[in-house]
Symmetry: C2
Subunit: 407 residues, 2 copies
């Protein structure tokens, strides 16, 4: 029996690498085998991976809770109240919005499931979802999994990857239901500027669309760039779902704590489906997250470490012959134009084979990702170790540049 | 703007209690407020809630891992390999099936999201899903959330809630795609007998259906009743997704570790969507789960505690005038026929108001749940405390029986 006969078109052609070789980072044993053979993984957006990085505040709170033995029990499916309070405070402080922890916030076991969940109430078969290209790959696949059509809207390197409204305008159809952005953008690290977001918001309101704003990287913005939350713009609160995470900003990916905030009319529906779609989040991690979210000193020191790392990565990688890049505007990533050296796949494979480091090809992020690679430059706790890897990449690509006759 | 206008029919009428009073157990702040006011919660299927119950083996492994500080990082989206190995061993030991941890198992952050995930690849708008009634309420809502029609198939108390095949036969249509069972059943605790499952399996194979078998309660079966896993029956392996959890059997609900096992052709698709639908599971809990799953002494002692509790619950609750019940066949629940005392809602409310204990109404489990209530009799670590609550319920319902002129 061929079980795929009974599957729907949204899923039947998906592959997790069981019947094909996996060389990518995300699933299957491919990455495990590569690491076991001594390779380095700079393809997971996981700050300081694989080194210790749990803050003492969270460690202490969790040790006590674990010792007590009651962390075996469920928190509420919508999220532990103490955590929702800590998150509501943080969101209010950032946005100026009055956030009620019992009406406007839901905790999800990581923001990946939170992203799909925030799309589910809205999307019907055949809907179209506008997604800036490049963007986080899950965004495109999420559209497909829900029976919608992902409509990539190109961002251009020459614009610093800021949105061009005419690209949205000309792709609008009666089927357009949603705009889905990663802000700051993954992979480009672009912080969409307030005036650009205002144009986008006006377009969304005028055409009665829904916005899902993935802000997984909002905690670390560099060089004094202003970060505007789209939900604070005129007419947007009532039609925006903001999806956040402690994975990147707090560097606590393994905790699996994400959160969505929105107007209570939206939240009522999410609460009503929470058990089914999310289950609940991890109890011990919820306790640790309360401590970490409130730990101002930890946040500050993480920010300083990541800024220093950003500079270090730029210093080394931007010197590679054939590579062009800008200093990252946010977060933990570097985005390199390597088109002079080959295709995205060729260059990523070359780094894997000659520097023993796994980085991301640009193409899973959209057509605009061709000729680019993404490196999680915040990997490794130690700056010297990270710098060593950057130099390994530099050495390998300099070799490649020579092969190509660039230098 | 009324945002629900832009929602699909599957979600738009869901409510999480933000705009209506919540008295139910599952979401919103209703339960928190009830507990804060001194009430007892015997409505969450969470063994020994709210008392300590993390086994020493898991605690020790987790303390060490937490101390190391590396639990901040992601495990693989399909689940930590060490955990998949431990689970594969357990499944193989139980079922005799050769389970490859890298091809047949995926870890989910709890089995609630695992259940929806196992349905997603198969269900298309308009499909029909046969679900025994009564069953776990999420099963019915999951069908709706995926655009399918839940077709309840009645189980009868007089049959000991074993399936009657003619009830399935007469509901079969060309749209029938899936059968979804909780086995052992929640709320009735019924273990579907092997010969009944063989009939069901023959029906499923003959009509080219898919089976999702939710076995969250499979770890504790009493009185020597044989437990057959439907995926082991002829023709079923290639069309069955078995969804399990450490929440009930190991009493580790707060860890959020569930797992799905299936043929690799099915698993390939689940792996391919894992990042998007599940994200990853919690890193520290994965480490604890490896220890707990392998802790034979803990499993044995949990079994003995739960069996003793089952007997204690039966002893006290079955004596209540107007109540009929059988000793539970599995797990942590008791299922009471209270139809002589009122509707399911009336009796549950009466217990809440007169014994200050929250129990479950039978009706969310399906039409066959009318006249019944579900009590999580494994709540509280201490037998005497639990017995005290059972007696509180007995006292309240005896009062009600008097009001009704039954005794
Ligand atoms: C843009 C973006 N959003 C969301 C996520 C999901 O993160 P998590 O599920 O750990 O919260 C990621 C992870 O890489 C990401 O890059
Ligand atoms: C029958 C059944 N299946 C699945 C679940 C979900 O459990 P978890 O998500 O904790 O694994 C429950 C929880 O009550 C249940 O009763």
């Amino acid at each position: 029996m061929d079980v795929k006969r009974r599957m729907n078109d949204r899923f039947k052609d998906l592959e997790g690498g069981l019947f094909s070789a996996v060389t990518k980072a995300d699933v299957g044993e491919g990455v495990g085998n590569f690491l076991a053979a001594g390779g380095a993984n700079m393809a997971w957006a996981d700050p300081f991976y694989p080194d210790p990085s749990v803050p003492e505040s969270a460690k202490k709170a969790m040790m006590e809770a674990l010792e007590s033995g009651t962390v075996s029990h469920y928190v509420m499916p919508i999220g532990d109240l103490a955590l929702r309070k800590a998150l509501a405070e943080k969101i209010s402080r950032r946005t100026g919005l009055p956030i009620d922890p019992s009406r406007n916030v839901i905790v999800s076991p990581g923001s990946d499931s939170g992203l799909l969940f925030s799309m589910m109430p809205f999307i019907e078969e055949g809907d179209e979802i506008m997604i800036p290209d490049p963007s986080y790959p899950s965004n495109f696949l999420n559209a497909k999994l829900l029976g919608a059509k992902a409509v990539p809207v190109p961002l251009y390197e020459e614009d610093g990857y800021q949105p061009r409204m005419e690209e949205f305008e000309k792709r609008l159809t009666p089927k357009t239901k949603m705009v889905l952005i990663s802000h700051p953008n993954n992979p480009t690290t672009t912080v969409f500027r307030k005036e650009k977001l205002e144009e986008l918001a006006a377009f969304i309101v005028k055409n009665d669309l829904i916005l899902v704003s993935d802000q997984a990287f909002e905690d670390h913005i560099y060089d004094g760039i202003e970060f505007a939350a789209p939900c604070t713009l005129p007419g947007m609160w009532e039609r925006t779902l903001t999806v956040c995470s402690i994975s990147k900003g707090l560097g606590l990916s393994g905790f699996r704590i994400g959160y969505i905030y929105a107007d209570d009319h939206i939240m009522d529906v999410l609460y009503g489906a929470a058990v089914n779609v999310l289950g609940a989040s991890n109890t011990l991690a919820s306790i640790g997250a309360v401590a970490a979210v409130r730990d101002e000193a930890f946040l500050k020191s993480n920010y300083e470490r990541l800024l220093r790392r950003r500079d270090l990565a730029y210093e080394i990688l931007s010197e590679i012959p054939g590579v062009t890049m800008k200093p990252s505007e946010s977060g933990i990533l570097s985005w390199l134009n390597v088109s002079a050296l080959g295709t995205s796949a060729e260059v990523a494979d070359y780094i894997r084979d000659h520097a023993n480091i796994m980085v991301n090809q640009g193409t899973p992020y959209g057509a605009q990702g061709e000729g680019h690679i993404r490196i999680v430059t915040a990997c490794f706790a130690n700056d010297e170790e990270a710098a060593g890897r950057f130099r390994d990449i530099k050495r390998a690509l300099t070799e490649l540049a020579k092969e190509k006759g660039i230098c």
